[in-house]
Subunit: 404 residues, 2 copies
């Protein structure tokens, strides 16, 4: 059975994702599509609009055969750790290829960029370090670093966000699992961060913005979503009462920051360079999450970096535990969130060959990182009513979603 | 100017408190009544129904001349530390006497009990230790200890809650400030914990129960309150939107407990003897605060002890800081919450003679315990809407209530 892996967030699963799954399957000539998906918190540090179980269901209905969870600690990270966790896990479950979407569409553009980086790594590092010392944010310093080493024409432009992720996937593969074939498909609609929904394919960001602002499904949003996702979104809201966004969590966050001393805040993953003082000062006057981050933001900290750090504060990720776990290569386990019949068959075949345990429920494994997962779930569901919260916390220990 | 000190919580200030202030003033032949009052969290570990500023106003309108704040760390403690903090502070501001309410009404009953305890301290200690080791709660072990040393008739019954506080006041005075005269007045209505409101004097507990259950003022409650308190209660609700009770804080508490590891919970003041494990286990199924404490309760932990510990978790009182500060005798400062003209005159007279600083605003003093006070205020106001919360936090740094 030939399998192809994709790294996804599906927040929510939209027509672009459907297209990507279908195209990847064709391009990879795969029988089984394996998605590794961020759980309840995403790479940019946001809480998912609906939880990982409903997003898994949408993914299976959209053609995924196996959905694995990228653990919280790897998901809410800048792209290097994010890719590391995702790609290494896919490698461990024996995928034959990995396929990602790109604006460029040619895999050679990425592999050439990798070779060029290898040749000029030191130059790049020196430049980045210089700009970091001058107080630039990491993404900005990195961009200037890429500029300084003059990539050949036809190579990818590493300043475009989706290229950065794609590039880091390729880097991981070529370094960690060179037998796995990197593939890319051209993204439909070049506008990764566009705020308006265009026609039938729109960015997840714009769809979420529409849904949250209108507090309900709109015609515009519906056009960009497969009917199964529309259904799943409705079901979630009916059963849980809300669609999640950071504003819902703000009072918990402000409570936590206000009742902790600087010395305690400093212990959370991402609270570096004196950020704890800025947090304590700024939280006093903040009345919304958006206002809070706006006030926090300086040249040094990007919005997403701050958002991720706040997610780690919300969940309570300790620096020590982060340091220990992030060093683990590959990630210590993979949790299966959902599977189709094909996915089930595939699992039966590879189960004995994987070097990391594949679990369907956390109680099957005794690993400290699962405590952090439990806390992430607890934080995520804290905004539900008490009874729903108690139920959803139980779901965390339940079985995968089965799609027959 | 002759002054008399009273130890109060005024949650809320009712007719019984009014009577007590008037009687104490007469009995002590005082010109100036000085109340030391718990702030926003009370000795039994509850959040005050309205904040300390409004309760101060009610107290001044009811005849208090000076209202001092018993710092959070001393207020939310079992009776020994509570008394220690309160009595020592009153001593430091130079009161001539201290007057408390009792079921007995004779001060000699208390002083005799003190002398009897001194003679039989060791016996008592041995008995208490034995019962504690058998898993009894401290109040229960203490009661059995008192039983074992056979107090003379006419001495007080130390199993009645208000006698315990009165006794500890007397103990503090006779040990720490023997020049101050202990006085007692007979409480009207012998039922300290009665749940039904009788006539015009009712317990603060029953009044709060009525107000919170009916979510508004009732005729029954109004009969037990001075008109000024009725007014103050209305004003608070209009300006802040709520009357506070533990249920309002439950979602913050459950969020905090669920996103902390046992090792972190263990660092909070009062989380001893493995309580951190019980907290983590029990919180999962709890949907209300009441249900949570009911599930937590065992023979070993009384309701109030648990409630206090949960208040310390809510605010984030660290064991280390508690240990250091509780050892300070007398408390390191006293904050003036409010004063009448008489109180102002009194302060002018004693200011130079007090050995501890008297402050009107936290920024006048650089002391670590004020950070804990700020956190207590932040926790208390966390249940207001964001804008009100920001305003009230500023109030924490504002001036005392002046009653002319």
């Amino acid at each position: 059975m030939k399998s192809c892996g994709v790294v996804v967030e599906y927040n929510p699963f939209h027509n672009g994702h459907l297209y990507h799954l279908e195209e990847s399957k064709k391009h990879a000539e795969a029988d089984c599509m394996i998605a590794i998906m961020s759980g309840n918190f995403l790479q940019r540090g946001e809480p998912a609009i609906i939880d990982k179980w409903y997003r898994t269901k949408a993914a299976l209905l959209g053609g995924a055969d196996l959905v694995l969870e990228l653990p919280f600690l790897y998901a809410v990270q800048h792209s290097d750790y994010f890719s590391q966790g995702a790609i290494q896990t896919l490698a461990e479950v024996g995928v034959d290829s990995i396929c990602f979407g790109s604006e460029n569409g040619r895999i050679t553009a990425f592999t050439e960029a990798f070779e060029h980086m290898n040749k000029h790594q030191e130059e790049y590092d020196v430049t980045v370090r210089r700009y970091l010392n001058e107080g630039y944010s990491y993404p900005e310093a990195s961009r200037l670093g890429y500029e300084s080493i003059a990539f050949p024409s036809g190579s990818i432009d590493l300043t475009q966000p989706n290229n950065i992720l794609g590039y880091s996937y390729v880097k991981q593969l070529l370094t960690y699992a060179p037998d796995i074939e990197p593939l890319t498909v051209l993204r439909k609609n070049n506008h990764y961060h566009d705020e308006e929904i265009h026609g039938k394919i729109a960015s997840a960001t714009s769809i979420r913005k529409e849904l949250l602002e209108e507090k309900g499904m709109t015609e515009k949003a519906e056009q960009s979503l497969p009917p199964s996702t529309v259904e799943v979104l409705h079901q979630y809201k009916n059963n849980h009462g809300i669609w999640h966004d950071w504003e819902a969590y703000f009072h918990l966050l402000q409570y936590k920051i206000m009742t902790m001393e600087e010395s305690t805040l400093r212990c959370f993953h991402g609270v570096d360079e004196g950020l704890e003082y800025r947090l304590k000062r700024t939280i006093k006057e903040a009345t919304t999450f958006h206002q809070f981050i706006s006030s926090l933001k300086t040249k040094r900290y990007t919005w997403t970096r701050l958002q991720r750090t706040l997610a780690h504060i919300l969940v309570g990720t300790d620096k020590q535990e982060a340091r220990v776990f992030l060093r683990e290569t590959p990630p210590p386990y993979a949790r299966i969130l959902g599977m189709s019949e094909t996915g089930k068959k595939y699992l039966r075949a590879v189960k004995k060959e994987t070097s990391i345990p594949l679990i369907t429920q956390p109680q099957q494994l005794d690993h400290e990182m699962l405590d952090l997962e439990a806390r992430a779930a607890a934080a995520y569901y804290s905004v539900l009513t008490p009874e729903r919260r108690v139920d959803q916390l139980k779901r965390e220990y339940g079985p995968p979603v089965i799609h027959s």
